[in-house]
Amino acid sequence: MASPIDYDGAVRGSSWTESDTAANEPEQSAADDRVTQVVIDAHVAVDIVKHCSEGLPEIVTGQLLGLDVDGTLEVTHAFPFADEENATGGDSAEYQLEMMKCLREVNADNNTVGWYTSTFLGSFLHQSMIETQFNYQDTIKTGVGLIFDPIRTAEGALCIRAVRFTKDFMQLYEKGSFAPADLNSKNVFASNIFEEIPVRIRSSKLTDVLLCTLAEGMPMEEVESDTRAFDLDFNPFLEKNLQFLNECMDELQSENHKYAQYERQVHRQRMDRNAFLQRRRAENNARKQAGQPPLPEEDLSRHPLFRTIRPPSRLEPLLISNQIQRYCDQINDYAGQGIAKMYLTAETQTRTGQ
């Protein structure tokens, strides 16, 4: 834990590890995978919020640095990833290495613990994000992804979530096959792809003093007045959400269609196969009765009827279902809040009317 005022650089130095060596430690048992909470330093939270809000409407990502202490993941620093087009020569990996080197010189922990990304109204289950999270969780035992939703935050309350894949999902992803049988054997449903970890923000004594200074009386230059929380116009938010939800439903529908087609194919193949075998047997019997030698047993596995049809990957439907659940939750929360606001307005109107 970083002590607030008298910080001793020498003591910290012994606990710095490069992210490579951390992954290669053989002594890390499975118990080290458990992360019970994520504690973010106050300045990191402000930095992440700022970067994501400024990046709108694009999705931005960045790296998290910190330490893992007994199942509590402490995030002590974060830096944004370079935009591909802005990087002046060299790619993003080089940028990362240089950044970590620079941070080490100013006594920041340079142990990678995860990554953060902004999201647009809660939609973050894209292939690229899944892959990134998988890579992080694979190389770093405690890799955590922080999802920040700047749009919902603008409504008034901080919306930061920490997610990790469940172990079952990780194993499935590693194997690369998402056939229905695999999903069942691992008991993976749409609701347990991710596990959400509680997030807390830590502020040291000096940061508290800064907060007091900001709260009390620095001259402020407000960009927008604080009336977003009182907005009674629910339609734009709901419309956008429902639109996303509809698109997801359509995608789910087409995936289900694919699966139904596969089932029909398998069924038809089975019927054809049985018919073929029966015909074979009947012919052989007829030949035996006629005294002719039976037909040679040819290698049936080459026959088109006996080729096994591969079941379609269920990864997409899984992700889509999870995404749908998230949208539904979001809409529900928003609707709940909206109803509360309506009733409040009703109170004021009836009072003034009297």
Binding site: S53, I201, L245
Partner: protein, 304 residues
Amino acid sequence: LPPMEASGIHLASQTKRALVHPSVLFSIVNHYERRPLGHARVLGTLMGDVRPDGAVEIQAAFPVPHSESSDRVAVDMEYLRTMLKLAHCVNRNRTIVGWYCTGAGVSEYSLLFNSFFKRVVTDPVHLCVDTELLSGRMAIKAFVGVQLDSSENELDSYFEELDVAIKRETGEKVAVDTLITGMHERTNAALEAGREEPERNVDVPSASSSKRDIGALRSALVSLVDVIEKCEQYVQDVTDGKAKPNREFGRFLADTIANVPKLDITAFEKLFSEGTQDLLMVSYLTSLAKTQIALSERVQAFMV
């Protein structure tokens, strides 16, 4: 790196204000907390933009290693250049605008540090944050070096103080407000429990809990009531003769109050019922969708 040009006119006559983003202050405080053993102060670079009206907007900051002894000071310019290059990769629009230093105010080293930074930007802004709380609070001041006209020597200059204002964009505002509310809650909890030190950690309620949204609504309402009470108090003071009346302000208040919409009862009831019906319907449909998906998953598990 070529020094950045200001808009041609001598900056001291134009730059009267420095607008600081809160994240800059947070990172300065964090840098101070992580300073190497034996260092009394820390140094770093300020990044930002110069606005057309001459005010300097300080948007970001990063630390720079430095060393000082009784007779000389050194700033790691190589590190500075590397970091500038990296920062450029992320945000092309930000340029270096100055430097920061912790401490109570301008010190004997400030001129020397200023001369280092003058190599990369003309008229750097010097932000001074009093992390040692010498005045009992964390004073935040900004200065800009003004050359004494009568002398050629770079070091013959004095520091002119600028007005500092905090500029909060929406996202940062919410984050800082959450932290401030959290801090008040923690201190109150500690006082009630009789503890010396409040808890260090603030819970961020999980994104899917309605407590979060309602909490935000509640705090917005509380601040609104606060503002209304202040206005009421002011009006009361003016009518009692205790405060000076301000014609513009009074007219502004009257306009604001007139803006409150007054619908007749039937029109409002219609709006209200339509609104709540929409919300309820949407809520019902989404619950239905969720149940449907959960069911289909279970069925699939049986079928395979």
